[in-house]
Amino acid sequence: MTALIEARELTKKYGAHVALDRANFSVETGRIVGLIGPNGAGKTTALRAILGLTAYEGQLQVLGREPLRDRTLLMRDASFIADVAVLPAWLRVDHAIDFVAGVHPRFRRDRAAELLAKTQITGKRRMRELSKGMKTQVHLALTMAIDAKLLVLDEPTLGLDILARSAFYDALVNDYMDETRTILITTHQVEEVENLLTDVLFIDKGRIVLDSSLDDVAVRYAAVAVAADRVEAARAEKPFFERRMLGKVVLYFEQPNLEKLAGFGEVHTPSVADLFVAKLSGGAA
């Protein structure tokens, strides 16, 4: 089967700066993929390319289309919040709904109204009168009311308080997500999305350093907290990263020999956030 998003040698240069450096990755239907990387790693550039907002080199297919050339058609099946708070200051909430209902064939007005009814936001208000969090809620309501095959979210909950964030992710998983949809999400709050992701893409300096399902991560990576006096022995198993923690040393292994590791301490699957730190700090392991 062909992937929903397929990138081969995807490259984007801004003058001398290489934002994406021959990145290869693919995203399958029905997955919730976290695109995770430090600031300036190329996350936003990758999303811009996927959404047809920027020219690029290399090959890129999204829903079987070339994003830059076919953006108009692509946007019937893909929706995105490319950044927070980009609804224009002069736009009224009810006008925003009217507009999207008027131009988007897959927009479900009742769904948007339902989502907005849960907030304190009334229709006659302009975006400039709303707080950052409220603006984000309007944008999320507009976007989630679109019956899209691919939803792209770039830092979707920036500016939302903890309650609104958790409500958003609950709605995303329970009401929005189903096996026909695919979500690609970037966020700095990795811990917050860790439980809903099915796949992770780690990106660093424009290159994909990990493209894996979380199931595979559990098989492929292991971490062991080792007492200080046994670290030397454990190092024989070639950890690719180690980190001191509360008098112990946590060692991270790829393709671990679980039986041997069990002798050094309790073996566990690293969290996405820990694995991210380990992969990026441990370098080219």
Binding site: T54, A55, M75, I81, V86, W90, G102, H104, P105
Partner: protein, 290 residues
Amino acid sequence: MSTYNWLIRREFWENRAIWTIPAVLGGLMILVTLFGKVNRISIPLQLPSQTVGGGFLLAVGVTFFVVMAIYSTWYLLDCLYADRKDRSILFWKSMPISDTTTVISKLATALIVIPAVYFAAADVTSLLMAFILSVRASSYIGGALWHADVWLQLQVLWLYVIATSAVWYLPLAAYLLVVSAWAKRAVMLWSILPPIAAILVERWFFGSQLIANQLWDRTVGWLVLAFHTSPGAGWQTTVVDNEAIRTPASIWSFLDIAGFFSSLETWIGAAAGLALIAAAIQLRRRRSEM
């Protein structure tokens, strides 16, 4: 079609000045007519009543269209720049609307929708002013403002003005769209600098001024081509204070329809306009942010 409908509506939401400026202008003119010293207007009564009334209504309409030209210039410079500046382009581009459709909707707003608004505002203002003047200054202006044929001729004139200026100024409008889609800041400056630089370079290196002449022709050429600006057939002569004044007897002796539409200059300009529109669309496609 419905997409264009929504895009035009969107322009009205964003740019309330599209209707507030003509509304305020009309309001001011009506206020002056209501409270000004209209009885002191001196009217060359020797002229035919049609010419007096027509001249007055023409002046009202021209005022509207001059203000419109200034506003439209600003609108065209701003329309593809504002949403890049506030980054709302990321929202607009998440809609299944092509960049071609977007750019055409802005151009149509500038060349058709805004002129239509000013046309309507000029008519409403003229009607109200004529009514007020008939009451307040009937002894002076009398029935001069109520010639049905003059009103009809003016409607034809405004439609002609809108149609021909849209064709003639297409390259200038499209150039402004290119700047608007391209500039990272200071659109006004960027719209003026390239032509000034081109003129100066030409002058220093070649000592000629072809570009300056071209630009000047494009600015005023419309008046010269679209209208009979010197007296000709169908013009009438009236003697006022021993001076012969020649005015068009009707709108038909004033409009040079054949001259305008058969001029090569008109169509070369339109072709350049289309090329610049294509450039603006390409820029819009590739420049999603500053």
